[in-house]
Subunit: 194 residues, 2 copies
């Protein structure tokens, strides 16, 4: 196969979830519709415009992110996430009106990632300076998320701020049988009065 | 979500086989690894260098394609395909040493595509001028491929050239690209005279 096509197949195959067959399908689609390739190339160039919000670490294009800039957001609650792309999912629920804080990862002894590698200090500073009343931890209910939550709880409690975490439980609309034992155990522990 | 990210998600979601979730996964991968985005953008820019071989219609970067330029290719056989991306699949079998001819599509009354819309005249010219002895039709064993084969047989037979088609072995109703190399190789070897 000719070189520019091989290069495109190689670049596409490196993307997550794209195998050689999918890469070929996409490459031939782009060859048949050059305007789609131009559109994608322009969008890729636009990635250079993405920076991080200096306040919360969310994606931004210039200075603070849209959420930090929004004066209508409730200013005494911070929701802590590991990665910026978790924010849109929480936003979609429409249940949260406070601000966010992006850690940049989770504590992971296996990968040598400690709290000092995460945006913990800046979180502590924000809690102090913004008169935060509650910090909600929206971290994965797995080993690394739990380790991170434990560490954050220890760092935040002395500041007199309330610390909570997302409720664990059975996904809405799912069978009881489909939940694993750990989830079911947590759903029992965290049962809510009716 | 911020605008450059929305634009990337929109562009990715237009690619075949990429839904919104896959687009998000790819976008966040590209945000985490900017060098991969640069690589993909460079590869997309390279598509502009792809032209068509003036002789056979295969992908090329400058003048005739690598196969038409290769003096070691057997010069009295032409294998006819609908699309240029079918050529690498036939090449991989290692069973064919002749040259190719890309029609640019198949006869399709439903889509209003007649033989005059395909590179049939140039095929007839090549058969005459290159002293071709055999034309192998590597077309989909579906209605449109069969219609095209019938038409080509009628156009080529008067020239005294042998016309054959790929042996059955390609699963009926499936794309040419979906056949594995062995099947495609056998289909080439066992091609049947028309």
């Amino acid at each position: 196969m000719i070189e520019p096509l091989e290069e495109l197949l190689a670049a596409l195959s490196r993307l997550p979830g794209i195998g050689r067959r999918s890469a070929e399908r996409i490459a031939f689609f782009l060859l048949a519709k050059p305007e789609e390739g131009k559109r994608l190339a322009a969008a890729l160039a636009g990635l250079d415009r993405i920076t991080r919000c200096p306040q919360c670490g969310n994606f931004a294009t210039d200075g603070p992110c849209a959420i930090c800039r929004d004066p209508k957001r409730e200013g005494t609650t911070i929701c802590v996430v590991a990665r910026p792309w978790e924010i849109p999912h929480l936003e979609k629920t429409g249940e949260y009106r406070g601000r966010y804080h992006v850690l940049g990862g989770l504590v992971s002894p296996g990968q040598g990632i400690g709290p000092e590698d995460l945006a913990v200090e800046s979180l502590v500073e924000r809690v102090k300076q913004e008169a935060i009343r509650e910090v909600i931890l929206a971290l994965e209910p797995k080993l690394e998320g739990d380790l991170t939550a434990m560490y954050l709880l220890r760092a935040l409690k002395p500041l007199g701020v309330a610390v909570s975490q997302l409720a664990h439980g059975i996904p809405v609309g799912r069978d009881l049988e489909s939940a694993d034992e750990l989830t079911l155990g947590r759903a029992l522990k965290g049962r809510t009065p009716l």
